[in-house]
C-alpha cells in the first residue's frame, strides 16, 4: 500500500486510536483533552470513540494528574497524559523524576510504570517565555525515563506506538509548530524502536545531528550546503534516551566533522551531551571541533523580531557548517 500524507497531528492521533483499540488499558488524561481535543486539536474525536472513561478531562493540576498516571500505570492502566505546553513540565518534575523514574528500580524491579507523557516544545509561536521552552534536557538527564523527540509524521506515529507499549515512563515531546506539517505515513501497522537514529539525509563532508524541530531546519541547511558544494549528512537520534551513540559516532567518523542542533538551550543541555559523545568517541577522526547550536540563552522574548533571533535557522546552521568545513 502506498503511504498517505498525514499531518504530524493526524499521525499522533492515529497512533493513539490504534493503540486504544488494541489495548483497553490505554487511556488519556489532561486538560481539555475530551470534547475540545486539546487546544492543538490533536485529540479531536477520541472521546467520541473511546468515551469519557478513557479520555478524561482534568482540572489544571499537572502534578496531580501526572502522579495519578504513575499510580494507575503501576496497577493495570497504561495512561497517556497530556501536558499542554512543555513549559509546564516544571510542575511535574517530582512525579516524573522522583516517582515515575525510580519506582521500578527502588522496588527491586517489582513495580512497573508504563506511562507516556505527551508534551510540546518549540518557540516562534509568539507565546513568550512561559510557553515556548524546549525542556527535554531535564528529563533526558534522569535515569529511569526515556525521552522521544519525533521529527516527522511517520516517526511520530511509530514512536508513539512504541512509547505506549513500553513498560517504562516515556516523555514524548512534540514540536507545536510542526502539528500541521505533512509527511508520508505508511498505511500498514508499524512501530519504530527506541534508540535507533535515523539518517534523514546521507552526506560525506559533515554530520549534522538534529532533533525534533531542528531536523527540517538542518535538512534545509543541507540543501544550502549542497549548493555551496558541501555534502551534509543529517541524523536524527529520535530518542535522547536511549541514545544511538553508534550511528552518530560512525557518521562523524566518516565525515570528519560534526555539529549538533537542538532547540533546547545550548547550555547544559542535549546538544552538549551529544557533542561530548561525538567529540570523545570520534576524536581521532575529527578534522574540526564539534559545534553546537541551541536556543539562545535567554528567556524566549515575545517580540517577533527578537524571538526569531533565539532559534537556530537554516541560515545559521548553514553558516556554522560552512565555517566548520573550511
Amino acid at each position: 500500500m502506498p503511504d498517505r500524507e498525514l499531518t504530524f497531528a493526524q499521525a499522533i492521533r492515529e497512533a493513539l486510536i490504534e493503540e486504544m483499540r488494541r489495548d483497553s488499558s490505554v487511556c488519556i488524561f489532561g486538560e481539555d483533552v475530551a470534547e475540545a481535543g486539546t487546544p492543538f486539536k490533536v485529540l479531536a474525536g477520541l472521546v467520541e470513540e473511546f468515551g469519557s472513561e478513557r479520555v478524561i478531562d482534568t482540572p489544571i493540576s499537572e502534578a496531580g494528574f501526572t502522579g495519578i498516571a504513575v499510580g494507575a500505570a503501576m496497577t493495570g492502566l497504561r495512561p497517556v497524559v497530556d501536558i499542554m505546553f512543555g513549559d509546564f513540565i516544571t510542575l511535574t518534575m517530582d512525579q516524573m523524576a522522583n516517582q515515575a523514574a525510580k519506582v521500578h528500580y527502588m522496588s527491586g524491579g517489582k513495580w512497573k510504570v508504563p506511562m507516556v507523557m505527551r508534551t510540546t516544545l518549540g518557540a516562534t509561536r509568539r507565546s513568550a517565555a512561559q510557553h515556548s521552552q524546549s525542556l527535554h534536557a531535564w528529563f533526558s538527564h534522569v535515569p529511569g525515563l526515556k525521552v522521544v523527540l519525533p521529527s516527522t509524521p511517520r516517526d511520530a506515529k511509530g514512536l508513539l506506538k512504541t512509547a505506549i507499549r513500553d513498560d517504562n515512563p516515556v516523555a514524548f515531546f512534540e514540536d507545536k509548530m510542526m502539528y500541521r506539517a505533512k509527511g508520508p505515513v505508511p498505511q500498514e501497522e508499524y512501530t519504530i524502536p527506541f534508540g535507533v537514529a535515523d539518517i534523514k539525509r546521507e552526506g560525506r563532508d559533515i554530520t549534522i545531528v538534529a532533533t525534533s524541530s531542528m531536523v527540517q531546519v538542518a535538512l534545509g541547511a543541507a540543501g544550502l550546503l549542497e549548493k555551496a558544494g558541501i555534502s551534509a549528512e543529517v541524523i536524527d537520534p529520535r530518542t535522547t534516551w536511549p541514545l544511538d551513540e553508534k550511528t552518530l559516532i560512525e557518521s562523524a567518523q566518516k565525515t570528519g566533522r560534526a555539529m549538533v542542533v537542538d532547540e533546547g538551550y545550548g547550555r547544559y543541555g542535549v546538544a552538549g551531551e551529544i557533542a561530548a559523545v561525538i567529540a570523545e568517541a570520534a576524536f581521532y577522526d575529527l578534522d574540526a571541533p564539534v559545534k553546537r547550536l541551541g536556543a539562545m540563552q535567554v528567556p524566549i522574548p515575545f517580540s517577533p523580531p527578537l524571538e526569531d533571533l533565539t532559534v537556530p535557522t537554516e541560515k545559521s546552521v548553514f553558516e556554522v557548517a560552512q565555517e566548520l568545513c573550511r
Binding site: 486538560e31 481539555d32 475530551a34 470534547e35 475540545a36 487546544p39 478531562d57 482534568t58 482540572p59 489544571i60 493540576s61 502534578a63 496531580g64 513549559d87 509546564f88 516544571t90 510542575l91 509561536r125 509568539r126 507565546s127 513568550a128 517565555a129 512561559q130 510557553h131 539562545m296 540563552q297 535567554v298 528567556p299 522574548p301 515575545f302 517580540s303 517577533p304 523580531p305 527578537l306 533571533l309 533565539t310
Partner: protein
C-alpha cells in the same frame, strides 16, 4: 433604595468614584475590543485572552487599593493592569512587541508588569503568581510599609496545589493579601463544575481564611467587599478570599471563535444582555441622577478617542533593536 439624592449617596468623592469606575471599565472594554480588532486584522502577534465581561472585578478591587499596593495578574490580565493604572498606549505597544511597551516588548500580552503602579506582573502559568503575591505581602508586613497585595486568578487556578500551600502560609503569618478568584465558569474549554469538587469558599475555609462571594458584574458590590478585606489586611487581620462570579464574553483567547461545543450561545447572550457590568453601572448612575446620558456619552467619546490614539501610538512605535535580545537576562 428606590432612588437617592446625591447627599444620600455620600460625598462628592463617592460620585467621583463611580464615574471613575465607569470610565475605567469602559477603558478596559474599549481596550479589549481593539485587541480583538488588531488580532482579526492580523496586526497582533500571538494570542490574547480578553477580559470583556469581567471589567467590574478588576475595577472594583483596584478602586479599593492605593497606587503603591501590589497586584499580580494572569494570562487574562489586561483589565487588571489598566485598573491598577497602566497606560493603554504602552500596553498596546507591549502587545505588539514594541520597545515602548511596558516590558520593552519582551513580555507581551501575558507578562505585563509595571513597578510604577505596583503591578508585579501577569503570569502565563495558571496560579503561577499566587506565591509571588504572597511573598510581596510578606515583604510589606516585614518592612511595615502598609501595602496590601491583591492576587487575581481564574477559578481554574483552584486546580493548582501551589494555591493551597501559600494560603496556608498567608494565614499562618497573617499576611496582607487578598486572593481574588474570578469565576467565569470556564477554564479553557471545560466548565468549572467538571473540574472543581466541593464549594469554592471551602477552599479558603480549609485554612481558616475568610471568604465572601460577590456578583462580579456589580462593581459596587465588588468594591464594597474588596474595600472591607483590604482594610482588614492593612489592619493586620491577615488574608482574605473573594470569589467574584462573572463571565467572559469572548472565547478563551481571541482565536476561540466556535464555542458551541462547550457553552451555549444563549448563555453568552444572557450574560451580555442581562448581566453586563457597564450597563448595570450606567443605568444605576442614571437612575440615581449621578450622571445623565450626555455625561456617559462624553466619557465614552473621551475613552474611545484615547484608545484610538493609543493603538496608533503602538502601531507606529518601533520594534526593539536586535541587540536587545540578550539584554536583561541578568540584573
Amino acid at each position: 433604595m428606590s432612588s437617592a439624592t446625591r447627599s444620600e449617596l455620600g460625598s462628592e468623592a463617592a460620585v467621583e468614584r463611580w464615574l471613575r469606575a465607569y470610565r475605567q471599565m469602559l477603558s478596559i472594554r474599549a481596550f479589549e475590543e481593539r485587541v480583538n480588532d488588531l488580532y482579526t486584522r492580523a496586526l497582533m502577534p500571538g494570542l490574547a485572552h480578553l477580559y470583556l465581561g469581567e471589567e467590574a472585578i478588576a475595577v472594583g478591587v483596584c478602586e479599593a487599593l492605593n497606587r503603591d499596593d501590589y497586584i499580580t495578574s494572569t494570562h487574562r490580565g489586561h483589565g487588571h493592569c489598566l485598573a491598577k493604572g497602566a497606560a493603554p498606549d504602552r500596553m498596546f505597544a507591549e502587545l505588539l512587541g514594541k520597545e515602548a511597551g511596558y516590558c520593552r516588548g519582551k513580555g507581551g500580552s501575558m507578562h505585563i508588569a509595571d513597578p510604577a503602579t505596583g503591578n508585579l506582573g501577569a503570569n502565563a502559568i495558571v496560579a503561577g503568581s499566587v506565591a509571588i503575591a504572597t511573598g510581596a505581602a510578606l515583604s510589606a508586613k516585614r518592612l511595615g510599609n502598609g501595602r496590601v497585595t491583591v492576587c487575581f486568578f481564574g477559578e481554574g487556578a483552584l486546580g493548582q496545589g501551589l494555591l493551597y500551600e501559600v494560603m496556608n502560609l498567608a494565614e499562618l503569618w497573617k499576611l496582607p493579601v487578598l486572593y481574588v478568584c474570578e469565576n467565569n465558569l470556564y477554564t479553557e474549554y471545560t466548565h468549572y463544575e467538571e473540574t472543581t469538587a466541593g464549594e469554592i469558599p471551602g477552599r479558603a475555609a480549609a485554612f481558616g481564611i475568610k471568604s465572601e462571594t460577590v456578583d462580579g458584574q456589580d462593581v459596587r458590590a465588588v468594591y464594597a467587599v474588596a474595600a472591607k478585606f483590604v482594610a482588614g489586611a492593612r489592619r493586620g487581620d491577615g488574608p482574605g478570599f473573594l470569589v467574584a462570579n462573572t463571565y467572559r464574553y469572548h472565547g478563551h483567547h481571541v482565536g476561540d471563535i466556535s464555542r458551541e461545543y462547550y457553552r451555549p450561545k444563549e448563555e453568552e447572550q444572557h450574560w451580555k444582555t442581562e448581566r453586563d457590568p457597564l450597563k448595570l453601572l450606567g443605568s444605576w448612575l442614571l437612575k440615581q441622577g449621578l450622571a445623565d446620558e450626555a455625561v456617559l456619552a462624553r466619557i465614552a467619546a473621551e475613552v474611545n478617542g484615547q484608545l484610538d490614539a493609543a493603538v496608533q501610538f503602538a502601531i507606529a512605535a518601533p520594534y526593539p533593536n536586535p541587540e536587545e535580545v540578550d539584554k536583561d537576562v541578568y540584573a
